[in-house]
C-alpha cells in the first residue's frame, strides 16, 4: 500500500490554496472604525491571540467585522473568511454560522449539510468556509479554526475576553 499518498491528501486538504491565500493575505486585518464591540480570543496552548472588532447598527446589522492578531494559517484564514462572510449580515446569524463552521471542522456536517443549516444568503460563504473542514483530520487544530469565532461571539455578547479552553 502506498503510505504517503493519503498523508499528502490530508495535508493538501488542510492547506488548500484558499486557506493559504487568506492566511498570507488576510482580509479585514484591521480595527473597525467606531466599533461597537471588541473581544480578544486566546489559545493558551500556543499563545495565539486574535482581537475581533465589530460595528453593529441599531437595527442589529453587522456593518463591519475586522480582526487583528497573530496566529497560524488556519486561525488567520478562518478569521479572514469569517469577516467577509458576516459583513452586512444580521448579527443574529453569527451564532448560526459559527455552529455550522464548528460542525464542518469536527466532521459532524459535510458542506451540503452545513449549507442547509444556514440561511440561503450565506450559501456562498459556506462554500468558502468549507475549506476549513480539512482540520477534521487534525483534531488538535480544530481550536485554531474556531478561535476567531469564539472571539466574535464573545464580542457580540459584550464580553471582552475568551479562550479556546472554556
Amino acid at each position: 500500500m502506498n503510505q504517503s499518498a493519503p498523508l499528502n491528501d490530508d495535508l493538501r486538504s488542510l492547506y488548500q490554496e484558499i486557506i493559504l491565500d487568506h492566511g498570507k493575505s488576510p482580509r479585514n486585518f484591521r480595527v473597525v472604525e467606531h466599533a461597537s464591540c471588541k473581544a480578544q480570543g486566546n489559545n493558551p496552548m500556543c499563545g495565539d491571540r486574535v482581537t475581533v472588532t465589530a460595528r453593529v447598527s441599531p437595527a442589529g446589522v453587522l456593518e463591519d467585522v475586522a480582526f487583528e492578531g497573530k496566529g497560524c494559517a488556519i486561525s488567520i484564514a478562518s478569521a479572514s473568511m469569517m469577516s467577509e462572510a458576516l459583513a452586512g449580515q444580521p448579527a443574529a446569524v453569527a451564532q448560526q454560522l459559527f455552529a455550522a463552521v464548528h460542525d464542518l471542522c469536527t466532521g459532524k456536517l459535510d458542506a451540503d449539510q452545513a449549507k442547509a443549516a444556514v440561511p440561503p444568503v450565506l450559501g456562498d460563504s459556506i462554500d468558502k468556509l468549507a475549506s476549513l473542514s480539512g482540520v477534521r483530520q487534525f483534531p488538535v487544530r480544530v481550536k485554531c479554526a474556531t478561535l476567531p469565532w469564539h472571539a466574535l461571539i464573545s464580542c457580540l455578547d459584550g464580553k471582552t475576553q475568551t479562550t479556546t479552553e472554556k
Partner: protein, 414 residues
C-alpha cells in the same frame, strides 16, 4: 559545513536506540523521528521493566506494613532516593525530597520557605527565560507576602550576561530563582557565578534543573546552589515524579507543605509534630513506583558514558544548527556559546503550528508554541517558535530527516 560532525567513537548511538522500544515504531507510515525530548524524553526498556517488575512482584505501600512486601517496596523506594543523592552528589540522602514533578518542587519552596522567610519588599530575582513554572509560583508568593520580582534580561543571542545579575542582585534580594538551562534557547546560565553573587548578598539560589540535569553531570555542591529541582520524565524516567534537593538546614527550617500521613511524628488533636526531612514534605502515599522508575533511569544513565553522550548531543546540535541555517527563510532563536542541545527557530511565512503539523506527517515530532515561556516570547518578538530538542538517542540522520521535512513543509505552506 564548517564544523566536524563526528560523534565520539566510544558512544554507540545504535546500541542506545535499541534500548528505547518506542523508537522502532512508525508515525503516519514514517519512521518516528523524536525531537521533543526537552518536553518529555522517551523511556528505555530498563525503566519500563523496573516499573513492570514492581507492579508484578514487589508492590506494596511504603513506610507502613510490618510485612515482607512493604519492607521490600520501602527499601526500593529509599534506594531510589539514594540513587538520586549519588546522581547529584548531595551531601545527605535526607536532602532529597520526592515530589510529583519539578513544578510541585518549586511551588513547595515558594509555599513553605517563601511564606516563612519572605516579607513585603523583599526581592526575588528571576530571568526573562524562565519557564512559567519558575514564574507563577513566585507571583503567587508575591500576592501572599508582597515581595517584589526583578527580571534579569536576556541578550539577543540568548545569552545572559553575569553583569546583569550583579546589577539586579542587591541587599533586598532574598532569592535568585533561575533556570540552569533554558528550555527554549538551550542557554546554559553561569549558575556558579550567579550563586556566588546571590550568597554575597545574603540571598539563596534555586536552580530549575529540568533541562540542566539531562544534558550534563550535575553536582549540587559544586554548583553552590541552595535548592535544585528537576523532573523525572525529562530524565528518561516516568512521569509523576520530581525531585526537590535543598540543603539540610533549609529543609529543617521550612514548615511542612501538605499535611497528612507519612509526614508526622506524633498526632494529637491538640498538637502534631513533624517528621524530619524528607518525610516532612512527603505527605500521603508517595509516587512509589515512579520513584523506583526514576532510580532505574539513573542506573541506566550511569551505565552509559555520560561525557561521550554529552559530546554526542553537542555534535547533533552543531549539525542541526548548520543544517537549519542552510534552509532559506529559517532564523535560529538562541545561539549562545556553549548551549545545550535545544534549538528553537522560526521560518518566514510559516507559523510554528503549521510547521509542526506538516512535520508530524513526515514522522518528525517537534514542539511548536510558546514553550510555557510567554514572557520570553514577548521579548523575542514572536508568539511562538518551533523547537527541536535532542536526547541521547538521536542521530545525525534524524537531523537530515528534520531538514527534509522542513523543505517539504515549505512546499506545502509557502
Amino acid at each position: 559545513m564548517n564544523k566536524p560532525l563526528t560523534t565520539p567513537s566510544s558512544y554507540d548511538v545504535t546500541k542506545v536506540r535499541a534500548d528505547f522500544p518506542i523508537l522502532a515504531r512508525e508515525v503516519h507510515g514514517k519512521p518516528l523521528v523524536y525531537l521533543d525530548s526537552a518536553a518529555s524524553a522517551q523511556k528505555p526498556q530498563q525503566v519500563i521493566d523496573a516499573i513492570t517488575r514492581v507492579y508484578s512482584h514487589e508492590y506494596a505501600n511504603v513506610h507502613r506494613g510490618a510485612y515482607y512486601l512493604s519492607e521490600t517496596a520501602t527499601a526500593a523506594y529509599e534506594a531510589a532516593r539514594e540513587k538520586v543523592r549519588g546522581f547529584i552528589n548531595a551531601a545527605h540522602v535526607s536532602e532529597v525530597v520526592f515530589t510529583k514533578g519539578a513544578t510541585e518542587a518549586i511551588n513547595l519552596v515558594a509555599a513553605t520557605w517563601g511564606r516563612k522567610f519572605l516579607k513585603e519588599g523583599d526581592e526575588i530575582v528571576l530571568t526573562t527565560v524562565e519557564h512559567h513554572s519558575n514564574i507563577v509560583p513566585w507571583q503567587l508568593l508575591r500576592e501572599a507576602v508582597g515581595c517584589v520580582l526583578t527580571v534579569v534580561p536576556v541578550a539577543a543571542d540568548g545569552s545572559i550576561d553575569i553583569a546583569e545579575f550583579a546589577k539586579a542582585i542587591g541587599p533586598k534580594t532574598k532569592l535568585v530563582a533561575v533556570a540552569h538551562v533554558s528550555n527554549v534557547l538551550g542557554t546554559v546560565l553561569p549558575v556558579r557565578d550567579i550563586a556566588d553573587l546571590a550568597h554575597a548578598a545574603g540571598a539563596k539560589i534555586l536552580l530549575d534543573g529540568c533541562q540542566g540535569i539531562v544534558h550534563a553531570h550535575v553536582d549540587v555542591q559544586d554548583l553552590g546552589c541552595d535548592f535544585y529541582v528537576f523532573s523525572g520524565h525529562k530524565l528518561y524516567g516516568p512521569t509523576g515524579i520530581g525531585v526537590l534537593w535543598a540543603r539540610q538546614e533549609l529543609l529543617e527550617a521550612m514548615p511542612p507543605y501538605q499535611g497528612g500521613g507519612d509526614m508526622i511524628d506524633t498526632v494529637t488533636f491538640a498538637k502534631t509534630t513533624w517528621a524530619p526531612p524528607p518525610a516532612k514534605f512527603e505527605a500521603g502515599t508517595p509516587p512509589i513506583v515512579q520513584a523506583i522508575g526514576l532510580g532505574a533511569a539513573i542506573d541506566y544513565l550511569n551505565s552509559l558514558d555520560r561525557v561521550a553522550a554529552a559530546k554526542h548531543e553537542t555534535a547533533l546540535l552543531r549539525y542541526a544548527m548548520s543544517s537549519l541555517q542552510q534552509v532559506p527563510g529559517i532564523r535560529l532563536i538562541g545561539t549562545a556559546p556553549g548551549k545545550a542541545a535545544v534549538q528553537s527557530f522560526v521560518m518566514d511565512g510559516a507559523h510554528p503550528h503549521d510547521l509542526a503539523t506538516v512535520l508530524d506527517r513526515s514522522g518528525v515530532c517537534v514542539r511548536a508554541g510558546h514553550h510555557c515561556a510567554q514572557p520570553l516570547m514577548d521579548v523575542l518578538g514572536v508568539t511562538a517558535t518551533t523547537r527541536a530538542s535532542f536526547g541521547i538517542y538521536n542521530t545525525m540522520a534524524e537531523v537530515d530527516a528534520l531538514i527534509a521535512a522542513l523543505r517539504r513543509a515549505q512546499e506545502v505552506l509557502l
